[in-house]
Symmetry: C2
Amino acid sequence: MPITLEPIGIVHSPYTDTAGMPIQGVFKPGIEACLEVYEAYREGLADLDGFSHAILIYHFHRAARTCLRTQPFLEDVEHGVFATRSPNRPNHLGLSIIRILAVADGRVRFTDVDVLDQTPVLDIKPYVKHFDHRDGTRHGWIDKHFENGPPARTIIEQP
Amino acid sequence: MPITLEPIGIVHSPYTDTAGMPIQGVFKPGIEACLEVYEAYREGLADLDGFSHAILIYHFHRAARTCLRTQPFLEDVEHGVFATRSPNRPNHLGLSIIRILAVADGRVRFTDVDVLDQTPVLDIKPYVKHFDHRDGTRHGWIDKHFENGPPARTIIEQP
């Protein structure tokens, strides 16, 4: 049974395509973007300014394909798409953890940006260490890339 | 512009209603559930078994209301819904971090369960400490409840 969602807002980001964008926001923290929440949903932003970080769930609106196996940016072999964060996934749902700079006038200014301009946002959740941190985690094909800290190549060169 | 999604699978959980369910999976880690991924999407599970944890995005299919202000389980005052993890949110999108026990035959057995039986699942993403941990986070109205460790009341008594 299909599920129909309405965007609650839109991202205004300096990244109009993927060139120069990090594969995850933590790898290029200095860039700033803005989430404009639509008028009808703005009341829901009350008290979000007490949180340092939030989780955005959004639609990868520029993802043209859906793959079940895909070659992630860091790899030269394919993996099952649910073992990757690729945008070319069923339902094209994206998730980013943003650092909140300010919440005012229906807008959330943030850094740790890995979201394209004009991305439709479906939900905002507070990031809560008490719920969301896990210790002793294992990360399959990803861990080898982080053995000596973040890998050298975390910024997308070509759109 | 509405966005239409198709569930990729369904959760089989011992929680047929919210009675006895924790407000977040970390607060009652011993219970086991199973995500049955539909046949058409099973190839996407390849390599997920290398990860200890995953993020599920799903539809709060039993959420009957949408509120912009809501009183969270831990509080006796209202907060903006985007500063809470309440199911009664626009688009009724849920997010849980699960601990993976096994991935086989299109099924993901997991613990850290805070998901109702028959929940339609929209996406599975690997949980990756290297991307998903943040240090020095602040959590608005939530922090006071965790000053001395987890609060006493984290299990839902009444549906």
